[in-house]
Symmetry: none
Subunit: 207 residues, 2 copies
Amino acid sequence: MEPLTKRQAEILALIRKFQAESGRPPTRAEICEAFGFSSPNAAEEHLRTLARKGAIEMIPGLSRGIRVLKTQRGVDAAEPGLPVVGRVAAGSPILAEENVEERYQVDARLFSPRADYLLRVRGHSMRDAGILNGDLLAVHRAAEAASGQIVVARLDNDVTVKRFQRRGHTVRLLPENPDFEPIEVDLRNEPFAIEGIGVGVIRTKPR
Amino acid sequence: MEPLTKRQAEILALIRKFQAESGRPPTRAEICEAFGFSSPNAAEEHLRTLARKGAIEMIPGLSRGIRVLKTQRGVDAAEPGLPVVGRVAAGSPILAEENVEERYQVDARLFSPRADYLLRVRGHSMRDAGILNGDLLAVHRAAEAASGQIVVARLDNDVTVKRFQRRGHTVRLLPENPDFEPIEVDLRNEPFAIEGIGVGVIRTKPR
DNA sequence: GCCAATACTGTATATCTAACCAGGCTTCGG
DNA sequence: CCGAAGCCTGGTTAGATATACAGTATTGGC
């Protein structure tokens, strides 16, 4: 989605708020009233811009034919449920909008510590820890971890799930499957960061 | 809320569905289209009746000025969340109150088919299917199952989770762990019933 | 300096929408 | 048998709404 100006973001926020409170999208006139515009064209132009930038969809001819396209919002907004993160684009923050597939309505407090998001796991390297290909790993955001914990780690633009082990300057990322090899990272000259700690698993399809 | 006729309940259901899918309430004309009415008055009268009976609110003069008042709590939308079943008392129905430990706020529609309850799994017999001791198995209530599905089965007052296999009069309950032995049941002279089908897993503690 | 984009005012209009009127058909209780 | 309520057709209209066109002013990049 193209970046929005401050004013455009305000308009988008109003559309969201209006819809959440009243159950219907606003008309041009209602947007004008909220912002003090005296011409419906002011609202119309903002809507067109938002549509062009991909923030909303406009259905021609329909009253209140506005759809907010992306549920957007990262961690801060108190939206119910947890964002599901699929493939993580190289270099982008893990909760960047482009990585969020959808939201699942799951109580974050089920997990302890609290889950911040769900990461869709690819591959079989954690099979013996009961984490299968396609599973959702409930992740608590953290930059530190204790040895033995299952972590979401970022190394050189690759995000992976492994069991964490640290000895001095060396970090070992251990798979839970004898078919895979441990990864060794020298913290002095290789990029490494912990994105979070695995606090649970959700599998929505039986195996 | 006064009781609704069958037709009125259908109209109300459509309003809910329309709003959930499009983000806006329907117009009279859109209701007509959905039901095949040829006059907007048919929709108008239904809306008035629904408003009189307290099911919806109508805001005069506004396009799409319909608000569904109660989230309804009938058969379909009972208590939110899923009941967690722990140890199942001998002979009692699996969802009997005495077996329900608590309720977890999880969207039942995450799973397909829909989950009806969560069963806390004891033991390691399904380890290689990624179902560990202490995990919650999301269960869809069913009395039948296809071979190869993971089922919750009741045999002689014992409830167990295994992979289901049937050949004529014989049912085999297969563990997913070489340390355990398959269970064979002769349907002609041994008690056996399927309680449900496993449709997912939730693990609230990392391993 | 100039063009494009943003951010509005002001006006106009075709059409969408809510809302009303008149009437037909059926069911059900008194 | 009657009246009321549910359920619908057909048609009408005031006003709500989307959308186009003509301007003005400001800002930032080239």
